[in-house]
């Protein structure tokens, strides 16, 4: 481990401890929200590195999270049946399952993604989100639209007089998120990150420098989906369930919103973005419900969605580079590759 990496690990450990300490200041519901935010954070961090560093836009990270969630539920249920009496082993087995399922799916998708340009990859991943409920219906192991349950991980006895179960789950969530995100942060700053930036900057130049863009892109996609899968495992631990309805199109797009609003490529931005998509709808809903009830039933729920949408637009307009972003860090647009540079214009037009 070189010096910068060990510094990074140290900082990650410190931040993890700070986050765990913060759970003591929160009541059970907010600890649950924190656990949810931690799960989203792992997925958004994976997404932000993928989009920010390699320019591959995935609209399907909710499905990768779901893959992790199903992997967790299946493996931990099996382990709990094989080893009754233990709580920790099914949890670890579940994490293994999450990594395996999301890793394989991510690798397959990454192989396809390496060949595709921005909007084409976006279209493929979007179709994947729409197909998730069908897949749950067709594949018996996914148990249809009711989804699967995951074993409940109670507070260990030594701690049970100290903390509530929500706080315990928040700890687990923070720890898993840390395990998922720290390698991303290290990768982003290391050689792999350099290769990704090289590929994003100019694929031809990268090739000339003996960097294989296809390999880099596939690798980035796999790593990113591993993080998303661990995020899905976190949600499965906190909610003890995984079902296709929870990983729909709206949620998948919210993950993209979190990555962009936070600032593409930035891990801290991913944390802020995740906190925003978890806490902001709830804040807006609370504010909206403070309005007099006689304004009409139709406002119920809808007003909160409307205000949330408006805030998303306002934040994007105010900080197009994201909360953590500075203008110079704006990555190259994943949707356009060379299309605006004058030299390629003739080529673009010849076939019409």
């Amino acid at each position: 481990m070189n010096a910068p990496t060990s510094r990074l690990v140290l900082r990650a450990a410190l931040l993890t401890l700070v986050a765990i300490a913060a759970t003591f200041a929160l009541d059970p519901f907010r600890n649950y929200q924190l656990a949810t935010a931690a799960g989203c954070f792992a997925a958004v961090a994976g997404l932000t590195v993928l989009v920010g560093l390699t320019g591959q836009l995935s609209l399907g990270h909710a499905v990768l999270m779901a893959a992790g969630g199903y992997g967790y539920a299946i493996a931990s249920t099996a382990a709990a049946e094989a080893l009754p009496g233990s709580d920790a082993l099914p949890f670890l087995a579940g994490l293994g399952g999450a990594v395996a399922v999301s890793g394989v799916l991510g690798l397959l998708l990454g192989l396809a993604a390496a060949r595709l340009r921005g909007p084409y990859l976006a279209g493929l991943t979007l179709a994947m989100v729409i197909a998730l409920p069908s897949a749950a219906n067709v594949i018996p192991a996914l148990a249809g639209d009711q989804g699967r349950g995951a074993p409940f991980f109670p507070v260990p006895e030594a701690l049970s007089s100290l903390i509530a179960v929500e706080q315990w789950h928040a700890w687990l969530a923070i720890a898993v998120a840390a395990v998922a995100v720290t390698p991303l942060a290290a990768m982003r700053r290391g050689r792999a990150g350099l290769r990704m930036r090289a590929v994003l900057g100019d694929e031809t130049a990268a090739r000339l420098a003996a960097v294989d863009p296809a390999k880099v892109k596939t690798g980035a996609f796999t790593v990113s989906s591993l993080a998303a899968g661990l995020g899905g495992a976190v949600l499965a631990v906190a909610t003890q369930s995984v079902s296709p309805g929870a990983y729909g199109l709206g949620f998948s797009l919210l993950l993209v919103v979190a990555a962009v609003v936070g600032g593409l490529g930035s891990i801290g931005g991913a944390a802020a973005g995740s906190a925003i998509i978890v806490v902001l709808p709830w804040l807006v809903d609370s504010a909206a419900s403070a309005l007099p009830a006689d304004l009409g039933q139709r406002l119920n729920g809808n007003l909160a969605v409307l205000l949330f949408g408006a805030v998303v637009i306002a934040v994007t307009a105010a900080r197009p580079g994201g909360i953590a972003g500075l203008p110079r860090r704006l990555p190259r647009p994943p949707f356009t590759r060379n299309t605006r540079t004058p030299e390629t214009e003739p080529n673009q037009n010849t076939e019409r």
């Binding site: 919103v257 409307l306 949330f308």
Partner: protein, 292 residues
């Protein structure tokens, strides 16, 4: 055999609407190099306008004209409004604004009109003609096919044979050069948006009578499937949108009929994956510049 003819004919009518909506995505992609994620919500707002006009006047055709006009106005408003707030050199901020816009428009519609489905009558009978014993296309399905085909022909003429079309294409592909040559690029981009959303509004208007009714979410799935269609066809290719639209419509109908309704989205995903693996830029992709 009877079954096959029946399923093919239902699939074609669906496919025509899909193709039209996919075409609207192709137009805005060609004009502004963006995927408009708010296309469905904007189209549905225009259909509400048509619904109100038809209810007030009793004329379907006035409603149809209203939908086209409302779509065009909405396209211009969004392009000149919220999207002006964010930089254009990278597409993601625009996409996030569009997602925010979807939330605002759909919940706004739900607040204004309620979440219920409002039945929309078709202007022609939906009773299928019989070919022997087999029910095939209805008058309304024929109307949809003809209108969709007509709109595509007109747009093809517009893009291929008129000066406006040339300017639209030039502004999209070479904004800097076009500007030097006197093309008013911002105006052309706005025109592309207007055309695109008007086309989407027409597609949504044609779809609604065949489904549960008008509802803020009535075009959500249409957008997703049309996006898949546009990608299969090649985002730059109107012809691709047409052919892929009909193909996906027929595929969904066949899979639903012979396998199950649940398998249909998986079949679309499978088709999309297969096409993109063979042709990463869609079926009718323009040849790319060699990179290395």
């Amino acid at each position: 055999m009877d079954r096959l003819v029946f399923l093919l004919s239902t699939g074609l009518a669906r496919g025509a609407v899909l193709a039209l909506f996919a075409l609207s995505l192709v137009i805005v992609w060609r004009a502004a190099r963006v995927i408009n994620f708010a296309q469905a919500a904007m189209a549905i707002v225009a259909v509400y306008v048509a619904f109100a006009l038809t209810a007030a006047s009793g004329s379907y055709w006035l409603g149809l004209a209203g939908a086209l006009a409302a779509g065009a106005v909405l396209g211009a408003l969004v392009e000149r409004g919220p999207l002006k707030l964010v930089p254009r050199d990278t597409p993601l901020p625009g996409m996030i604004v569009a997602i925010g816009l979807v939330m605002v428009l759909q919940s706004g519609l739900a607040i204004a009109f309620g979440p219920d489905h409002r039945p929309v009558r078709a202007p022609f009978s939906q009773r299928p003609f019989l070919l022997g014993d087999i029910p095939v296309l209805s008058a309304y399905a024929l109307f949809v096919l003809l209108l969709a085909g007509g709109v595509m022909a007109v747009l093809a003429l517009l893009f291929g044979r008129t000066s406006l079309g040339l300017q639209l294409r030039a502004a999209a592909f070479a904004p800097e050069t076009s500007r030097l040559l006197g093309v008013r690029v911002p105006r052309m981009v706005t025109a592309g948006w207007m055309l695109s959303v008007a086309t989407a509004a027409l597609a949504a208007l044609l779809l609604v009578p065949t489904e549960l009714g008008l509802n803020p979410h009535a075009a959500d799935l249409l957008f997703v499937n049309a996006f898949a269609v546009a990608v299969v066809g090649g985002l730059d290719s109107p012809l691709g949108a047409l052919i892929a639209g009909l193909a996906v419509g027929v595929l969904v109908s066949l899979v639903t009929g012979y396998v199950s309704a649940a398998a249909a989205p998986l079949a679309v995903l499978g088709l999309l994956t297969a096409v993109l693996l063979v042709r990463p830029g869609g079926l009718f992709a323009a040849k790319e510049a060699r990179s290395a």
